[in-house]
Symmetry: C2
Subunit: 133 residues, 2 copies
Amino acid sequence: MFLLGDDADRALGELGLTPSRAALVWELGQRGPVPQHVLATALRVTPRAVTGLVDALVASDLVTRAPHPGDRRATLVTFTPRGAELAAGLERGRAELARTLFAPMPAEELDCFGRGLAGVIARLRAHIAAGAA
Amino acid sequence: MFLLGDDADRALGELGLTPSRAALVWELGQRGPVPQHVLATALRVTPRAVTGLVDALVASDLVTRAPHPGDRRATLVTFTPRGAELAAGLERGRAELARTLFAPMPAEELDCFGRGLAGVIARLRAHIAAGAA
DNA sequence: TATTGTTATACTCTATAACTATA
DNA sequence: TATAGTTATAGAGTATAACAATA
């Protein structure tokens, strides 16, 4: 049972999380220990914003800062046991939600839907890239 | 040419708009003059937040507050000529973007994509409703 | 009593700019 | 010189709570 809507807001609040902090936890779960500038790029925010989010997550005992082997300027953000457990739960929830949403589709319909969506996304990306030129 | 990405951020900035203010302009364009509590519900924010957004849009000469005929507690938020022009531009952009994204799809593929998407959305809504119970 | 919108207050998020340490 | 991350500062957005006017 993966939570969404008001339910998710409540669950995040109980964990001392906010949407932005949860997004960082999610990215870190997908990428493993990374320096902060990687998170800044992934989340499309400034390094300053990452500093604040990591500060909050350290205070919640979800992540820690560790030295980066090979670059003493950088700090590796890594999960605490509690943070790793949370990230694993998020991934389980994502997989279960995907099953709920897509498993009921007949294979043929799922195939067509997937191709159609890929086309829409490709045209959207092209449109954005053209505008940025 | 409807703007997205960094381009949109730039264009919004030139209009003195922010994403939240643009969302209110969009809702108002879809609904016509409405009291603030309707916008609060539509945008899923508190009445306090709407007060601040409307204040900013009034300062930008995009909307005005008018008395609500029939309920003297309420204020109707209405477009200024400049705001109405902006809302019309947003709607034209939305329509053009929809053509860019969907017109290239063969009718059969579009049909299948639309049915698949409707199913996914229905299951997502059911999932959220079940969790909120 | 309930609803509409406001003021008061506080917190989160984010940006820009200046800075330190390191590459 | 360039990069990683921090501190300082400021602004937008939002929530909660208390309030006034009206229903």
